[in-house]
Amino acid sequence: MRTIEIKPKLAQSLLPADFDGFIQDAKGRTFQPKDLRATRVARQGGGDAPIFDRPPVQIPTRMSKGGVGKTTVVGNLGSALAMMGHKVLLIDGDPQASLTGLMGIDWATEELTHIGELMRRCYKGQSVKIEEAVKPIYADGHLDLIASDITLADTDSWMMGAANREGIYNRLAHDCAGFFSRYEVVLIDTAPSTSLLTNALMVSSKEILAVVMLDGQSLKAMQVLASNVNELNRAFPGLNLGVHIVANGYHPSYGSCKEALQTLGSSYPDNLNDNILPWAASFRRQINMIDDNLSGTVLEREPGTVSAEAIINLAWSLVDRYQIRLAGHWSPGGHARAGETIGEAA
């Protein structure tokens, strides 16, 4: 479990706009996710509950190419949404287990039950025991993880013969509704390969989150993603699976990044999220090979950076787009803030 101490400046950007001035009252204090949640719940009224009466928003992150930043996006969005006060479940759906590693779980030494195993139990009618598979990352259920390891790669072998195999994850979510209803949002990291497991995770949502690195190779990979999505839509009339695109790795002085962003913006004007993630060293410092204590998401480690700001902006826009609730409440554009910070005089 990680200790999260949010300083007032970060807390301000994690709160909706009507909390302006919060930073002045909070000087010198630090907050945990549960404190910010309590503050928001007190402001919006209606109280809080350990279990919500509607299922969580599911956001599968997807790209048919590796190294585009899916895990970084999932991990950091998880951090951001949890720090904003939401109850977040992360699911590592990639046998590479990078998200598991980013969350500080050593899959080589720790006992773990991955999502494929939970789906198998559900499909076979066995007792699922999903609670036991959960690794708490932040306290108070704000950020939990269903971890993964290399054996997740075997999942396709039994799914091959399963009936309605694309629906098995949804069935798990349905059968374990009591568990899933503890969360307001579920972020799913998937493997780049187009597999049965990945398909099953993708159809958990009306809209997958496609992470695209701003380079030609990633744009090319959109072809594979499009055929994957279009095949699913063709196979399941009424699914209408949509795609929301997050562009990653933007650098203002790289011409190729700009071109790639232009192409994305012009090709998918309705699908592209206009909060772009920067090409930044902070993302590359998330894992420290020597000292595990120095590993962590950008938001945990370097909250003052432009990368952290970009992640927070992205998180707010997704709260809007996917209607992620906080204790049952959601209102559009709640985060719109006045003014932009610009460099202050030295």
Partner: protein, 337 residues
């Protein structure tokens, strides 16, 4: 991070939000866009204007499912569609199509319906204008008997599936579909258009914008997107009056702020915190040399002023620093601090 006190002035952080919408990033060339695959949300099999089924054909089906003949119709007998939701048809687009038609001929006939001895266009405005541009006096057309509902549906849905419309134009189309009874709810709109329920809901936010804002959008449909419309409509819900929202749209039109800042601006106006939003984008002054090259840029933000020397400029900072400190000291003295 900030433990070294004698750091040089912080750089203005680069921007990573709103790059596309505010136009920092230009449109890509069409050749690049053409390379990108489409994501098909809805397939014709589950869209309402269903493909003709076998059963229908055996029963004789509806008129347009029978073998249809193409007629040559004088262009000057064709009136524009009353249900056209597209506001921007550029001459450039027409010219490109005209070029194609000159080389390959008209590949697909336009669709018209009869209306009081004349014809009314149902689908094919671009094709018709391109033919007119080429000096043609007649055009190949399918003539169909259609009531208002079917005609509006064909025009609007044809646009939806073939055109890159602005959000406002899409909204106009959706409204037409409701007005003629082709759809009755957000759900039915989502069924027959390429947009999902939440997007339809977002697009319908234009409905709630004040009249002045709509008048502006009629002339500049690309001014704001549905996300902004939704935020603005949300402001109205929070008890902010029409005038302020209309002013925000005017400011966007006048280039005083990008649409992404509209909601923040309104909020700031409503709560009286002008400083943060109004000057957020910073009053910027530039000092140039006698030859006109930039020497200093001075940015004013809500919390301070930043003076930056131009790259490569040979600036002696010491006297400037000294003078500034002097000025600030005297200010502090006056303030009684």
């Amino acid at each position: 991070m900030s433990d070294t006190p004698a750091k040089p002035a912080k750089k203005t952080p680069p921007k990573f939000s709103g790059l596309v919408k505010d136009g920092t990033i230009n449109a890509a060339p069409e050749s690049a866009v053409a390379m990108m695959p489409p994501f098909a949300h809805t397939f014709p099999t589950n869209a309402a204007p269903a493909a003709p089924s076998v059963a229908n054909a055996e029963e004789g089906g509806r008129p347009e499912e029978q073998a249809e003949t193409v007629r040559l119709i004088p262009i000057n007998l064709i009136d524009a569609s009353r249900f056209q939701n597209r506001l921007t048809l550029t001459e450039e687009r027409v010219a490109v199509l005209a070029d194609n038609i000159r080389q390959d001929g008209l590949n697909s006939p336009v669709i018209v319906r009869t209306a009081g001895g004349r014809f009314e266009l149902v689908a094919g405005e671009t094709r018709m204008r391109a033919c007119r541009l080429l000096g043609h006096t007649e055009i190949q057309a399918f003539v169909r008997e259609m009531d208002d509902t079917r005609s509006a549906r064909s025009t609007v849905l044809d646009n939806f599936f073939h055109e890159s419309l602005t959000d406002y134009e899409v909204y106009k189309g959706l409204r037409t579909l409701i007005a003629v009874g082709a759809a009755t709810s957000v759900r039915t709109l989502a069924d027959i258009t390429p947009w999902g329920k939440s997007q339809v809901q977002r697009l319908m936010a234009f409905e709630r914008l004040p009249r002045q804002a709509i008048e502006i959008l009629e002339r500049q449909p690309s001014l704001i997107g549905s996300a902004t419309a939704e935020l603005l409509a949300g402001c109205l819900g929070k008890g902010i009056d029409d005038g302020l929202v209309a002013r925000a749209v005017e400011r966007i039109r006048d280039g005083k702020m990008p649409q992404t800042r509209a909601a923040a601006w309104i909020e700031a106006q409503a709560t009286g915190k002008k400083a943060a939003a109004g000057q957020g984008r910073a009053a910027r002054a530039v000092v140039t040399t006698a030859q006109g090259s930039v020497l200093f840029t001075i940015d004013r933000g809500p919390k301070g002023i930043k003076i930056q020397g131009a790259k490569g400029a040979d600036i002696d900072w010491d006297p400037i620093h000294e003078a500034l400190v002097g000025l600030l000291k005297s200010q502090a003295g006056e303030g009684g601090g």
